[in-house]
């Protein structure tokens, strides 16, 4: 019995990955994550030169809303409101960063990129591969992206270009929305090796005292434990229509959440905000919770239960509805009692 997981030809010691963000912008964080038995690390997203301003972070850039502020890593509720944007160094510094991580890491390291033009995506992906990364994640749904880039034109071209250009596996990170299932199908058709569901979406909040939007007055990426429910929903939607592996992410707080993702067809699970709020120890805690479940259920590997919950999903047409005669209650009689 163990947590070992095979994901895109990589052997992971745990299905948990650190998601792209502030817990993977620094080579020393690789050691912190490995000490907790992480399966792999997705590095902070680097932006192409066209988006160089995204390397300059606003200050401050985080707010923790509705936080229960438990100590000792026991927080269960919060909303992380973030406008952090991309990797803070130049592209050359990012390639060096990948090399340094690869040099010291004993677990797979996945590069993450964001660009506009297809040729920029391709160029960045080539460099990520040359720097030694085990895979590359295309952050096509960054909640911090400027303006609006169209999936059907910009991103489809980008995925195709990158898949053509590199030999390492290509992950496509898709944000929650009405098109997740369609975008997963398109990503698979374009040759992506896996999809990551779901990225943070943009939210907004207002301070009623000052009557202004909080932080910088603009939309920010939001996430938190509550977001796992739409992640589960999109996992269920996509896992039934695509064959490539799925990496789940968004609001995962506990081993139980990880099990739910696996039952809905996910192969690996990315976590981040739980590390930010509850500390690096969360990784080991979640690993242990998954192991406890496997022991209790007599499961040798997570592969055995992958997608099990999908088998029991009903089609809306099959939902049993009560078809008896109407109840006799005085439903339209005012003040009957």
């Amino acid at each position: 019995m163990g947590l070992e997981t095979s994901f895109l030809h990589m052997r992971l010691q745990s299905p948990l990955l650190v998601a792209s963000g502030p817990a993977s912008h620094d080579v020393n964080q690789v050691r912190l994550a490995e000490e907790q038995k992480i399966g792999g690390i997705v590095l902070k997203t680097a932006c192409s030169d066209a988006y160089a301003h995204m390397r300059f972070w606003p200050r401050p850039r985080y707010k923790l809303l509705d936080w229960d502020k438990q100590v000792g890593g026991r927080s269960k509720n919060f909303t992380l409101y973030s406008y952090e944007q991309g990797y803070s160094g130049t592209l050359q510094e990012y390639w060096d960063f990948i090399s340094a991580c690869k040099q010291h890491a004993h677990v797979p390291v996945i590069g993450s990129i964001f660009a506009g033009e297809a040729k920029d995506w391709e160029d960045l992906a080539r460099h990520v591969e040359d720097s030694g990364a085990d895979a590359v994640e295309l952050d096509i749904s960054s909640p911090h992206r400027p303006g609006s880039l169209d999936f059907e034109t910009t991103f489809v071209a980008a995925i195709k270009a990158v898949v053509e250009a590199v030999k390492i596996p290509v992950l496509v990170k898709i944000a929650a929305g009405p098109d997740v299932q369609h975008q997963s199908i398109v990503a698979e058709a374009c040759g992506a090796s896996a999809v990551t569901l779901c990225n943070r979406i943009r939210g907004f909040d207002v301070d009623v005292e000052t009557q202004r939007p909080i932080l910088h007055g603009y939309f920010a990426g939001i996430g938190g434990p509550w977001s796992k429910y739409y992640v589960f929903r999109h996992l269920a939607g996509s896992a039934q229509v695509i064959k490539i592996p799925i990496c789940a992410t968004g609001g995962i707080m506990s081993g139980e959440d990880v099990i739910k993702c696996v039952l809905l067809g996910a192969t690996a699970v990315q976590i981040l905000s739980v590390i930010m709020v509850n500390g690096w120890e969360s990784i080991a805690r979640i690993n242990n919770e998954v192991l406890e479940y496997m022991e209790r259920k007599g499961i040798a590997t997570l592969e055995e239960i992958r997608g099990n919950a999908l088998k029991n999903m009903t089609h809306p047409d099959e939902i049993i509805r009560w078809s008896g005669e109407p109840k006799k209650g005085p439903r339209n009689v005012w003040n009957a009692h």
Partner: protein, 110 residues
């Protein structure tokens, strides 16, 4: 609007030109710090440490290492007693700024 109590009291006393001229940096008001140890673990930039202060009522206090602080705001969120405040980061004075980080007229306070 200064003086109005809000959910995020520490953010209000910043005058508008504060952000335009200098980015904010976290600092611990040592007299207010209750040495609860919540801020060092939430910092992703190794910018917060606990230091001994024999004369402090809790014998210890959190301290911000200004060189590491990126002004992200997480410690500010974590502090239960609002002992973390924003101070101007003057380390950028004289350094060439990216065009997108130049002070702009329409920039507003936090």
């Amino acid at each position: 609007m200064s003086g109005t109590p809000t959910k995020y009291p520490g953010l209000n006393p910043i005058p508008p030109d504060f952000v335009r001229e200098h980015p904010p940096l976290a600092e611990v008001v040592e007299d207010l710090c209750i040495a609860c140890d919540r801020c060092p673990p939430i910092c992703f930039f190794d910018a917060l440490i606990m230091e001994d202060r024999p004369k402090h009522r809790y014998r210890r206090t959190a301290v911000v290492i200004a060189d590491n602080c990126t002004g992200c705001g997480l410690c500010f969120e974590a502090c239960p007693v609002d002992a973390i405040i924003w101070v101007p980061d003057t380390s950028h004075v004289g350094i060439e700024r990216h065009p997108m980080t130049q002070p702009r007229e329409e920039d507003h306070d936090l």
